[in-house]
Amino acid sequence: MRQVTHILNKEFKDYFVSPIAYIVISIFLLVTGWFFFSTFFLYNQASLRNFFDLLPLTFSFVIPAITMRLFSEELNIGSYEILLTMPVTFLDVIIGKLLAAIAMVGALLLPTLSYAITIAFLGKLDWGPVIGGYLGALLLGAAYCAIGLFASSLTRNQIIAFIIGMAICFTLTLIDKMLFFFPQILLGVIGYLGADNHFQNISKGIVDSRDILYFLSVVFIALYGAKLAMQEKE
């Protein structure tokens, strides 16, 4: 557990040493800020609905950008060999990296709290969905981070890792909007696979164990995939 914190610290600090963190945060805030506030006054409602509606889509290209370097860079410069010959297990490494990415997602979401505070001044804000929304955002972020980690473990090229991660995240986000392409029997299953659906449930303020379980399973499967991919490399 101690090793996990050391790796988490190092990876999290790394984001802010390089320009990645600042670029990603700026882009994220610009995109979400623009889409949210450009229609906010038309709707004339004191809620963060629109912000959370859009979040899965923005996350699916922002988060792979955060996670793309986590394994790819190590593989590329060869530092993975150094990391793994220090007294750490693979589990320490992957959990540390995942937590660092989730912390980065937290840092991404932190400034958006100001939206909520601003709106609370403008009208009567219902805090329930807001808290649910942020909880959901973290769960969704964790799932996408794990997917990004998996993509990063596949290749030593960060750009390829980004594109693979984005492709998977987009698929999970949009799949439940494309149900009419699939045969009747599969609808239930594929509907369940969509991340957006689960996220919207939580962001309405309904915290259901099924949705939480969904996100945790995505994390688990993606991390397991990453483990297999890294083992293959040895």
Binding site: I7, K10, I77, S79, I82, L84, P87
Partner: protein, 312 residues
């Protein structure tokens, strides 16, 4: 200290290391020699726990790599080839990070880093990012990284590759200094380096050990041949050849054509058991040749290496 038992490693169908067994004692500086692709790095990676062997076992002290890999990792400091360190970190941050992961106590961390800064000469670069360091400096940071927890065993993969001659001498000096108290295993394909730093040499080829012994023992190994090299002025090649070949114990004489100054270079292959310097000198003294060079060569490590790793 370290016992390698019948270790084999396959990469898919390719057999990189084939049934290697080794016993390494405390305080040895062991040089792992071999041509490119002989399995040096693979062997070191298994020793350090980067991956497990396909079959066989590595035991360090009482720990087996299959059961107590974490304990073994704690005992070993490892510097992979060309020091692949995180480019974006500062040297100080990096060493501090490694000290944390290696579990150095809080009050030991800074003094230990100071010590290593002195030992490896990192004083001027602590505030630089690793990416902007030259290869030699990076290698030194890597060395500091490997030694930070004061491990009992130090494994270095090609520690001097890509360095300039001055840096090579410095790194060797550091390795020798460490080797006084620790067990050091280093791989290299530079023979003079192994000769200069190691007290035991293992040569591997195609994943198998083909020679194992101290530098001296290897040089005196079985089919040895002593060679005497002569430089003569005023001598006729054929006459010199026949006269020198007549000395008992000389097996073969090779003469190069005399160069522009009339210097004739001869190579005498001699039987090992006899020291032929005296009779050779006396033969020359009896003629009116002028002796310009006289040198006895023992079989160099290079020759042994070439012989053992020759492709048939």
């Amino acid at each position: 200290m370290i016992r390698v038992e019948n270790v084999t490693k396959y990469y898919d169908d390719l057999c990189a290391v084939d049934q290697i067994s080794l016993d390494i004692q405390r305080g040895e500086i062991l040089g792992l020699l071999g041509p490119n692709g002989a399995g040096k790095t693979t062997t070191l990676r298994m020793l350090t726990g980067y991956f497990l062997p396909t079959s066989g076992d590595v035991r360090v002290k009482d720990f087996s790599i299959r059961e107590n890999i974490l304990e073994i990792k704690k005992l070993i400091g490892y510097l992979p080839e060309s020091a692949p360190l995180y480019h974006s970190m500062l040297v100080y941050d990096y060493l501090n990070y490694v000290a944390h992961i290696r579990g150095l106590a809080h009050d030991r961390r800074i003094p230990r880093i100071r010590q290593l800064v002195d030992l490896c000469g990192l004083g001027n670069i602590m505030h630089k990012t690793i990416g902007e360091l030259s290869k030699g400096l990076k290698q030194r940071v890597g060395l500091a990284h490997a030694m930070i927890a004061d491990p009992e065993i130090l494994v270095l993969d090609e520690p001097t590759s890509g360095l300039d001659p001055n840096q090579i001498v410095e790194i060797r000096e550091i390795i020798r200094r460490i080797g006084k108290e620790k067990t050091v295993i280093l791989s290299t394909h530079i023979l003079s380096e192994a000769e200069a730093t190691c007290n035991r040499i293992v040569i591997i080829n195609h994943g198998k050990i083909v020679a194992d012994g101290s530098t001296e023992a290897l040089k005196q190994s079985a089919h040895q041949q002593a060679v005497i090299r002569l430089g003569l002025l005023n001598a006729d090649p054929d006459e010199a050849k026949s006269k020198l070949a007549a000395i008992t114990g000389v097996k073969r004489v090779e003469a190069d054509k005399a160069d522009n100054d009339g210097l004739l270079t001869l190579k005498l292959a001699c039987e090992t058991a006899l020291d032929l310097r005296k009779p050779v000198y006396q033969t020359i003294k009896a003629t009116d040749w002028v002796l310009m060079e006289f040198q006895q060569e023992s079989r160099s490590l290079e020759m042994i290496f070439r012989e053992l790793t020759k492709e048939n």
